[in-house]
Amino acid sequence: MKSVEFQAIYIMWLRQMKRFVRSKSRLVSSIVQPLFFLFILGSGFRVATFVGVDDYLSFLAPGIIAMAILFSSMFTGISVLWDKQFGFLQEVLVAPVSRFSIIIGRTLGGATVALIQGFIILLISLGLGVKISGVFGLLLTFVFMILIAFTAVGFGLVLASKMEDFQGFQLIMNLLIMPLLFLSSAFFPVTSNPTMKIISSFNPLFYMVDGLRGSLVTGAATVNPPMLDLLVVLVVCIIMMGLGSYFFSKSEV
């Protein structure tokens, strides 16, 4: 790849960083919302007993981290739609930069923002006393976080290429992402209900949350070994990124 392409990727990444830092409302809401979940669900369900769950907060924290990264990354993918509506996308597409680099720049920017948010939640969880499983577990956690971010950016790109406005985005969030999130064992273990357990095995979010939990928390009640989750998440990530790139490069302004 030519150095021009790297420069282009860098400036696209930098643009997203600047926009993220300057948009105070996005910064606050994207961190406060998961914290609400963490604190309210955490203290509300602390007294309830789930099979195989000793410490509910330790159970919940990985779910909330996954959720924060997921929402933030999807937003980045979808923000291509903003660029489309504000005309800025034309400026990007007419530059002598390959479509591949444009997608990489967008993805890296979005993933970085999402990971910053994920790390903030992670740090707060650690402060609240979530028991982590060690250095290797932590590294594996980072890998999961990165993969989740890339997958969601890819999914956002698919949506942005196929949709014309933000109403469609709301629909997808409410009718697809929320149910998938509830069935991912992010908030409660789905294994106790046989039907839910079957549905979950087809839910990519389930493997993300399960893998994140297995690698981050000691003695966590996971369904699959983390490495199996990693494999599934990696495949899903490659597919999503591929689809995102394909649809984005096909879309006309």
Binding site: V4, A8, I11, R15, Q90, E91
Partner: protein, 329 residues
């Protein structure tokens, strides 16, 4: 040397031919204008030339590079100012230019000096560190023009550069466009539906309507084709008067329209009394008469038989703009 050359360029959208077999060329260093009403196919032509739309048929070359086969080479050689603003309003003016410079691979030293150069050219150097969302409409346009010039393009495309700006700002923009054509030697291709704009800026003009080019010529020649002066008059019996005036050899062309007649003549002021005499001898009452220098409006009227305003009304009811066509999936 031809900077732009198109050969039977055609673009069809579902149920609509937006651009129909267009062939023209633009010479190095000139300002070439596409003049036509809204919906005539101007923006679609530009979008094909700047590699954002794939032509249905035909081909085009920019600076010797094919718009389909050598997209990246074409993209390096062009600067574009889009019809709708295409700035990131959350960044400052300087950051927008920095973004552009890096996308076009300018080196560090060149970036610094060039950003200041182009900002100077459009008198925005003191607004460099202001967020674009706080810019006025005119300032945004100027910034976009500066940005289009950043990477020393061979040709700069301007799609309706003064759309929606007030009279004073339009003047200023015209001056900037003229200045960069002279100082940087940039070839300019612009579209407009303002006659006065094409008149003020362009060396040569192509008049486009319903996706086809009606005529391409210099502004002077186009004006001469309707006469040195244009006399417009309305009277009681237009048919009779037109028939009688058609016999006069000093009138270069007589055209009858819905409610008025236009005559192309030399030294229009001296011809008014003569025409009134002729009308009186036929017992025709002249309601109004005026003489003026021909505008491009007259040229458009001459070639299409309609004024631009009529044409625009017809076009907007006839077709969906291509931009929205592409979005229906």
């Amino acid at each position: 040397m031809d900077i732009i050359r198109t050969n039977n360029l055609t673009k069809n959208f579902v149920g609509l031919t937006a651009v129909d077999n267009i062939s023209f060329s633009v010479k190095k260093g000139e300002i070439f204008g596409f003049l036509g009403p809204n919906g005539a196919g101007k923006t679609t032509t530009i979008k094909m030339l700047i590699t954002l739309l794939h032509p249905t048929k035909g081909s085009a070359e920019i600076a010797g590079f094919d718009i389909i086969g050598a997209r990246d080479k074409v993209r390096q050689n062009i600067g574009v100012v889009f019809q709708e603003p295409a700035l990131d309003i959350e960044l400052t003016g300087g950051e927008n230019l920095e973004y552009h410079a890096r996308m076009y691979g300018l080196s560090r030293d060149k970036r610094k000096t060039r950003i200041d150069d182009v900002l100077n050219l459009v008198d925005l150097e003191d607004k460099k560190n202001v967020l674009v969302k706080n810019y006025s409409g005119g300032m945004k346009r100027r910034l976009e023009i500066a940005r289009g010039l950043m990477h020393y393009p061979t040709v700069l495309f301007l799609d309706e550069p003064t759309l929606g700006l007030d009279a004073q700002t339009r003047r200023a923009i015209w001056n900037y466009i003229g200045k960069m054509n002279k100082e940087e030697g940039t070839t300019i291709f612009l579209t407009t539906h303002y006659m006065d704009e094409a008149d003020f800026l362009c060396d040569r003009i192509g008049i486009i309507d319903h996706g086809s080019i009606l005529v391409i010529d210099s502004v002077t020649n186009l004006k001469n084709s309707v006469g040195n002066d244009v006399i417009t008059l309305s009277c009681s019996d237009m048919v009779k008067l037109v028939k009688r005036l058609g016999e006069e050899s000093w009138i270069s062309n007589v055209e009858q329209h819905d409610s008025f007649v236009t005559l192309g003549v030399e030294k229009g002021e001296e011809k008014i009394p003569v025409i009134i005499e002729i009308a009186q001898s036929l017992n025709i009452r002249i309601k109004s008469i005026s003489v003026r220098k021909p505008t491009l409006d007259d040229v458009f009227l001459h070639f299409t038989g309609r004024t631009m305003r009529d044409q625009e009304a017809a076009n907007t009811t006839r077709s969906v703009p291509p931009r929205f066509h592409g979005r229906m999936r």
